[in-house]
């Protein structure tokens, strides 16, 4: 009887545990919904005034109180995409190097330094970007791109040093630690027998990594990239300092641009009229929506590319 009682007790403990977990999940859901609801409420004056035109008009004029967010959405998405592509490529290579190629005496300090990079405040990245990267982009990198790939419209036109591409590069540097650290952890969890199987079939170490280990870890690596993409979309200070802050859509990646988060940070404190404030809050709402949409698109892309074959155990 006593033993039976104890079992019942543990069942209650289990139920309490489940209830707590459920509660936590509901709290998170409530926070997100509450956030979205308050953003929608704050955006109402702007939504009423500009309607959907807010999404595809390009004027951002606080003096006349006419607001359109298209250039901001464009700048946000493109700068983050540049960052994600760059950070994806370099981050995965760095992770492969750290997990399987670097000798231990090198791997540990290198990992530490890359993770340290994640702790550098974004304003420091911004200052570095402004004083070091931007001149380098204008004097060296942009001209080189123009010479080699100048036939592409995205590498045409004058370079100011600050602009979409520079912002993308700075963002890439900021999110590489995330991609690298998580990817390395995922790569090290791929069992040694996968590597041995490949090597024993006569594959080189490089082939083993690229054809077996990285594909087996792709779900985790993809998760790391999504996480990094989220940070890039919302990054404010560093982007503001190097993107040029110009609400305009230009074909060239050298041209100045502007992001949703930057506009909010730049103008929120001084926005006194209701419609201005509301338009800025609507930008916040858009940032949330853009994040969700980009995430969803990325997942659909992932799903369609890797459909069929299963992921790592």
């Amino acid at each position: 009887m006593r033993r039976l009682g104890a079992r019942t007790g543990s069942k209650i403990v289990d139920q309490i545990f489940v209830a707590v977990l459920l509660g936590a999940a509901i709290v998170f859901l409530a926070i997100i919904l509450g956030l979205a609801a308050s953003l929608v409420k704050g955006s109402l004056p702007s939504l009423r005034t500009f309607g959907f035109a807010f999404l595809w008009t390009s004027s951002w004029n606080p003096v006349t109180s006419i607001f359109g967010a298209l250039p901001l959405i464009y700048g946000t998405v493109i700068s983050s995409l540049i960052a994600t592509v760059l950070a994806g490529v370099f981050g995965i290579f760095a992770a492969v190097f750290l997990s399987d190629f670097a000798p231990a005496f090198l791997a540990r300090p290198l990992s530490f330094m890359i993770e340290l990079l994640a702790a550098v405040p974004s304003v420091v990245f911004g200052l570095w970007g402004l004083f070091v990267l931007a001149p380098a982009m204008r004097n060296t990198i942009d001209p080189a791109l123009q010479r080699t790939l100048g036939f592409l419209p995205i590498f045409s036109g004058p370079s100011y040093g600050v602009g979409l591409l520079t912002a993308g590069v700075i963002l890439a540097l900021m999110i590489i630690p995330t991609v690298t650290a998580i990817s390395r952890d995922v790569l090290t969890t791929i069992p040694a027998d996968q590597r041995e199987a490949s090597m024993s079939l006569g594959a080189t170490k490089w082939e083993t990594m690229m054809k077996v280990v990285v594909p087996a870890a792709r779900a985790g690596i993809f998760g790391a990239i999504i996480l990094a993409l989220g940070r890039a979309l919302g990054e404010t200070i560093a982007t503001t300092m190097v993107i040029g802050n110009r609400p305009e859509i230009a074909v060239s990646l050298f041209a100045p641009s502007y992001t949703l988060a930057s506009v909010i940070a730049n103008e929120f404190t001084e926005a006194t009229s209701d419609i201005y404030l509301s338009a800025l809050i609507e930008l916040g709402l858009l940032l949330l929506i853009v994040s969700v949409v980009v995430n969803a698109l990325a997942r659909i892309l992932m799903w369609s590319v890797f459909r069929g074959a299963r992921s790592a155990r």
Binding site: A104, D193, E196, S198, L201, K211, V212, A216, R310
Partner: protein, 258 residues
């Protein structure tokens, strides 16, 4: 069972092989002659050095930090540890099947095609023919021919292990190393693997690690007995099991320890 006699040629000659993990010797001064187109079984209790020994034959220890190999392993007259030997090319000639089935998380077809693709066979009819031939040789074709594009991880453990064998066969090696290939499988799957190995030795030289003496007795032409890192005794399987020359071998075979 093929007659095990002195007339078969030595495919691999191991001389005075020692393997160290750091300072600990896992295999000490082992010498063994491996005959072509025969099955050689390595037996002995757990931790006796069988697996370490077999992994020395395709230089898998190269991948283990801190592992060190001394002595000579001569394959077709060439010392595989000589500085001019490329271990990647070596492993084309020596395939390996592991204790736990370890198919890649890819489709069945891609698993088998993995080795050929690395070695330069592009997609096409010849690759498809090679995959089919390998799967047939591994006695798996009939079970998977309708679902080659499905994930290998959907197969049962025994099927996965035969897939791993097919994957090795597709590279067309001369020697197949097997490290307790049936230890993780149920009896039916085990007997399928054993039948397969019996069948394979007509074309391949097979070296198999097993802790099952019955398995060694059933399948192998030659047996080598390891104990605590020493290769105690080796010879034709029939001789080993009927009149072992070393007391320790006799104790092990008659079940006094292990």
């Amino acid at each position: 069972m093929q007659a095990a006699g002195e007339e078969t040629t030595a495919k691999v000659q191991v001389d005075d092989l020692s393997v160290y993990y750091g300072k600990v010797a896992a295999v000490k001064h082992a010498s063994l002659k491996v005959h072509e187109n025969c099955v050689t079984a390595l037996i002995g209790p757990s931790g006796c050095g069988k697996t370490t020994f077999i992994r020395a034959l395709n230089r898998m220890h190269d991948l283990t930090p801190g592992a060190r190999v001394e002595g000579r392993v001569v394959l077709d007259g060439i010392d595989i540890y000589a500085p001019n030997v490329n271990p990647v090319l070596l492993r084309h000639k020596i395939g390996m099947v592991f204790q736990r089935p370890n198919p890649f998380p890819k489709s069945i077809f891609d698993n088998v095609a993995y080795g050929p693709r690395i070695h330069g066979t592009r997609n096409g009819a010849s690759l498809e023919a090679l995959v089919e031939r390998s799967l047939r040789r591994a006695a798996l074709w009939n079970e998977v021919k309708d679902r080659l594009d499905r994930s290998a991880l959907d197969l049962s453990g025994g099927q996965q292990q035969r897939l791993c064998i097919a994957r090795v066969l597709a590279v067309e090696p001369e020697i197949i190393l097997m490290d307790e290939p049936a230890s993780a499988l149920d009896p039916i799957a085990t007997s399928k693997i054993e039948d397969l190995i019996n069948d394979l030795k007509r074309e391949y030289t097979v070296i198999i690690v097993t802790h099952s003496m019955q398995q060694a007795a059933r399948m192998s032409d030659y047996t080598a007995f390891f104990l605590l890192g020493d290769l105690v005794e080796s010879g034709p399987t029939r001789d080993m099991f009927t009149r072992p020359s070393d007391k320790r071998t006799e104790d092990y075979i008659t079940g006094r320890f292990g």
